[in-house]
Symmetry: D2
Subunit: 402 residues, 4 copies
């Protein structure tokens, strides 16, 4: 075992941390109180700087303009970027574009790659991923209602989706729809690329989430597909392979999310330390002198360390043995890191008292927005059951062999 980080990565992370501190954290106040679109011109300039520093699109292949980092390396980058909500966007690795690009890279036709992948990686356009159904649990594919039928050389799509993040302003959506209703449950869906200006692609609303309707990249839309027609060649990957591809997309995506959460935890701890070492509570005393606060700092440090090593280990396993071999670890980190995140955010808020409730720090925004960590990409409970079933199955198999 060797837990050391390569000199190359140490350099990269040092540059990123400095950039985040100097260029992005000062923009947070605007992020917290203004519309996202009003920040875009300034963010465009920051993106230009990132490209010049050759830190753009760290997880994308080099031949498409990225840095070509492996998953563990990119995980460390996510951690550094997530210290601010503006990090991943500015470095060209924001969801859902990152995941969409991955699918396009692996399964897209040469034409799809030129038309959709390249401009997404370049940050020229944005895209969205349209999977979650309004009234149905995402964890059970059998319950999908949206569908597409081939009418001549066109797919005709009908369906009702929501939580299509960043649809507002996107150039295209990757829609997950049922195309093979008679196949086995996991082989019924396909992915289809839908330009958002296609008639029948209706963005009903940006959903108000935690009091915030959002706009542009920073939004979650409800989409109604009504006889929405796209060319047959917009099929992404083989017919009926939608769920398989979505699962593949989710694996690395969970590393991205989990390392992002660790980064948020790190930021929360920094804010706690700043607050605790400066906030007077009695003449000559600050919060950091008190056992309760010290206890919390100790516990935060332990939880962050635990979650961080788990996620890095999982990334390493995926890099070396592949996603499939790491399915148990992926489920473990998903719920474990989300739990740590929530505890750390909650403690950070409490240390800040009334100030923690306001948008004068970034904590309240983390607290309300990242509550979703325990929900998206599979609620905690589904992952716990999934891990357990796998462990039980392995135990039985091992016992049977004896």
């Amino acid at each position: 075992m060797d837990f050391s980080i390569s000199p190359k990565m140490q350099t990269i992370l040092g540059m990123i941390n400095e950039f985040v501190d100097k260029e992005l954290i000062p923009m947070e106040h605007d992020f917290l109180t203004k519309e996202f679109s009003s920040l875009e011109p300034e963010l465009e300039e920051k993106r230009r700087m990132v490209k010049e520093m050759e830190l753009w699109a760290p997880m994308h292949p080099k031949d498409f303009g990225g840095m070509g980092l492996n998953l563990l390396e990119y995980g460390l980058v996510c951690e550094a970027l997530a210290r601010t909500p503006l990090g991943v966007y500015t470095f060209g690795c924001q969801a859902p574009d990152a995941g969409n690009a991955e699918i396009l890279h692996k399964y897209g036709t040469p034409e799809q790659k030129e038309k959709y992948l390249r401009p997404v990686i370049n940050g020229e356009i944005r895209s969205c991923f349209s999977m979650t159904e309004v009234d149905l649990p995402g964890s059970n594919p059998v319950l999908m209602d949206s569908n597409a039928v081939l009418d001549g050389d066109e797919w005709v799509i009908n369906g009702h989706k929501w939580y299509t993040s960043s649809a507002d302003g996107s150039k295209f959506a990757i829609a997950m729809v049922k195309t093979e209703p008679d196949a086995a449950p996991h082989l019924q869906a396909s992915m289809i690329i839908v330009p958002t200006d296609t008639p029948g692609f209706n963005l009903v609303r940006n959903i108000p989430v935690m009091g915030h309707t959002g706009d542009s990249w920073h939004s979650h839309a409800e989409i109604l597909y009504q006889n929405c027609r796209v060319p047959a060649e917009n099929l992404l990957g083989p017919r009926g392979m939608g769920f398989i591809l979505a699962q593949e997309r989710l694996g690395p995506g969970r590393i991205h999310h989990c390392m992002r959460w660790i980064g948020i935890c790190n930021r929360c701890l920094e804010l706690v330390l700043e607050r605790a070492t400066t906030r007077p509570i009695a003449p000559g005393q600050v919060l950091a002198d008190k056992q309760i606060i010290q206890t919390w700092i100790g516990e935060m440090a332990a939880q962050i360390q635990a979650a961080r090593l788990m996620v890095l280990h999982c990334a390493w396993k995926m890099d070396t043995l592949g996603t499939k071999e790491a399915r148990e670890e992926i489920s473990l980190i998903k719920f474990y890191a989300a739990g740590v995140l929530q505890k750390v955010m909650d403690t950070a808020l409490q240390v800040h008292g009334g100030l923690g409730m306001t948008d004068d720090t970034v904590i309240a925004s983390f607290y309300r927005g990242e509550r979703a960590a325990r929900i998206y990409d599979g609620v905690d409970e589904v992952h716990k059951l999934s891990v357990a079933k796998r462990i039980i199955k392995e135990y039985k198999a091992k016992k049977g062999q004896k």
Copy 2:
């Protein structure tokens, strides 16, 4: 011991529950997505209905137009009203007016009562309570910076306050300021009534709290007092008694808050039951069929029951023995009920999955806004320490007697 609820209160609570269900819950969607002031005309009509039903101002004295309920009875009313964020406002018992009215009733001069108390209880005007300092912990009175000096027959007030809830639109503030800098620490502050149109009373901003700036009653302001002059007779209560009065104000206020939190818990449990019994998760199965959800429902029920009985017991003790005798119980319920509230809200949100994050239910609003329950009126930690010190002191005293 007798845990029964009187027939009178059962009738009152039945009426309130029905009113909340029929008149207020349907308005919640607007509350969650619009400015508060845009709801005020409709709420004015609801308030008229409440007055006609003779359920107005339940905790205020009958001779001022209230129902004259005792603390335990009013606690039960709070519980019923808190099922919706619009409850207390519509029934004329919203903070901070309720607490202000109590102080005015006990300590106001006849002139102050006519000018300020009566219209507040009638719901004709609103008021605010200006105590919390921007950079100083509320729990340590020595650290107060705002002050007033008597200049002839006028108080000249200077200071910087925030979290002055509902200042926006208020007719007057009760300001807590240092007037006796040379007195013992707890005897330095006084309360002064400050009409909000007084020059030098500057509402700097409504503070963005959890992403929401708010307006009117539903807001928290930052106030700058700059050579703000009010007549000497605006002193409320004796000089130097500000903290004593504020403590007195807080005692019953904590019952109001805690029972309100129980009401929010009850609503959360209702929403969980509705969701669990209707949300399909597999063909022929709903969430409520699953052990995980059932376990949560069992745990929610236990926590709510525990917190509820503790608060009612505390209210009973205050009604029978007085606030001072119940100080330990008041601290216990403050942090215990706040903890239960947070767990229950969190579980309710989780049961709703992605929907729980949106403002299509009231849960996300509870989740972010009521996070403050563990902070205002004394953070959890201060109450735990306070209880412990009292218990330790009692133990030593008891042992010394032996």
Copy 3:
């Protein structure tokens, strides 16, 4: 609502607390390090004192020599007695005799009452309750294997039981066995009185529990019934009503247990206070001066208060509306109070550090023995599910009516 305790009960509780302090706590060291039977002569003398004080058998009917307290009153007595592991035994209200007496009083024939009930209540003999099966979950009656068949005027009993508490030294067992294999699942079992000197009643062993085999009243036996024959008239209650009677026995028994746990919590808190106020940690400082310890004391106080009020409320409901109406509350207190107990014991042990692990205080004994609180009479999980199912059912019924 009225949370006051009657003067009569205050007097009784005062006497009990004094007796426990002066007569029983000094015997604890022997209890913790010697066999129980070696303490019995001294305990016999204490029992005599209790009878003279007219505090004997508090929950048993007056005409059988008890005090005739109702459930709430007796709950308060349990709380006081449980401050020491020797309390309930010394006051003639130890399990399983207490529960057996209740069944015999309600369902015994006049002959059974004279022969078994009277001497049990008098403390002349002890008894045991033989229900739990070795390999089968107690919560599912269908899975019972032990059985009895009527052969002429004798029951012939076969079966394998364990956790038959206090069988060692008992004069008779009440055995729960299947007698009606063809009836509906809940109507298959009956209760039969089995004198322990009956051939075929084999006490295989006292089971080592938490490192302690135990003896006499303080033991848990494994029993093998092998063609064990008793007269037909030893049937207790109607045929096939075993489970119904057992349930009835369990209801009040849970109040006894829960209030006993509260008493243990109270004792733990006393020990924490004694330790914290005397243990030096630095020159001039004791544990009680530290925020961590204070926080724990505050949390213990809150948890104990919460659990205590819940149990008393449940007892009141059973006294006024009957056991059946209080089924939900009974399940709630069972798991909630057990959870509080475990947290409080754990904290008390931690405050005592290395000493807490030794048998130089009573805490380690509580810690290991009372871990069973979350298991016996229905594991936590079963009660949570049971409460939830009832709540869900009520919700559906209520909604259906609308």
Copy 4:
């Protein structure tokens, strides 16, 4: 980063796991119900087998007959051995001998090494470590009362120690006593080797711990040093360096303990899986089919994984950068792994229901004995504070530099 385990270690761990399964777990029932000394002959035979397999004394230097593993490698061995309470003893790496040997190896004179170290490593004799004082907290060295004064060429030792583990049957103790009362607080104590047959070395009692007095290696003694005289050359290491050496001893010792706890967790999980997959709860259903049990298995797996990676990372850091550089990590793992251990043991017990309380499985023994994990070598709370103080100090230093 590379999380792979070397082929050499995989082979060693495979052999150990098989040995534990075949040779040691079958002896557990005797361990749980008999005196330890009665097992020693059989254990001697097992030790002989271990030596033949060349797996003896894995962490000791090769030139003293050990395997010479580094800390990370030995940590993995601890994990494998700890699946049974008999593991470390049988492989010659039991506490306190392991730590004593380390000190002797580093600081012993050549004569001390021959006389004490060699036979300890060979398993010919046992030793104990006499540091903890009866009434004083171990975490504060200033509070040590035991002392030694040099009288001619002899140390005269007086003092009262307890928790001197395994003193019963030991050939010598390493006693920590104050020798330099006028030095700075951390430089007052020295280590002295005291043969246990020295007059004045009085083993007062084996302390009953969790109901178990214990004997031989499996015991904790109270020791009274009364004018106990040993030759001056029995000083171990330099005068006044006792605390420094003890700290050095504790660092690696915490890795040993923590990895041992992970091993106990692994065993608990195995027992849970066996129980869950075989225990019927309804016709055709076993525990493992239930969501509650599955959820627990998922949570156990995550907690074990988190703690395990943290401890291995810490061992790696100590191996590569030294103990001093890893002080923060050492404190983190101490309380974090202890917390995971307790949760896992508790869950394992709960899954076993009544059986879990008995000594028919090893769980109850783990549960009561390993409760001490949160206490010895520094209570959780001390480590949390220690970590926090270090983090706060680093934060201030870093900020000061900017």
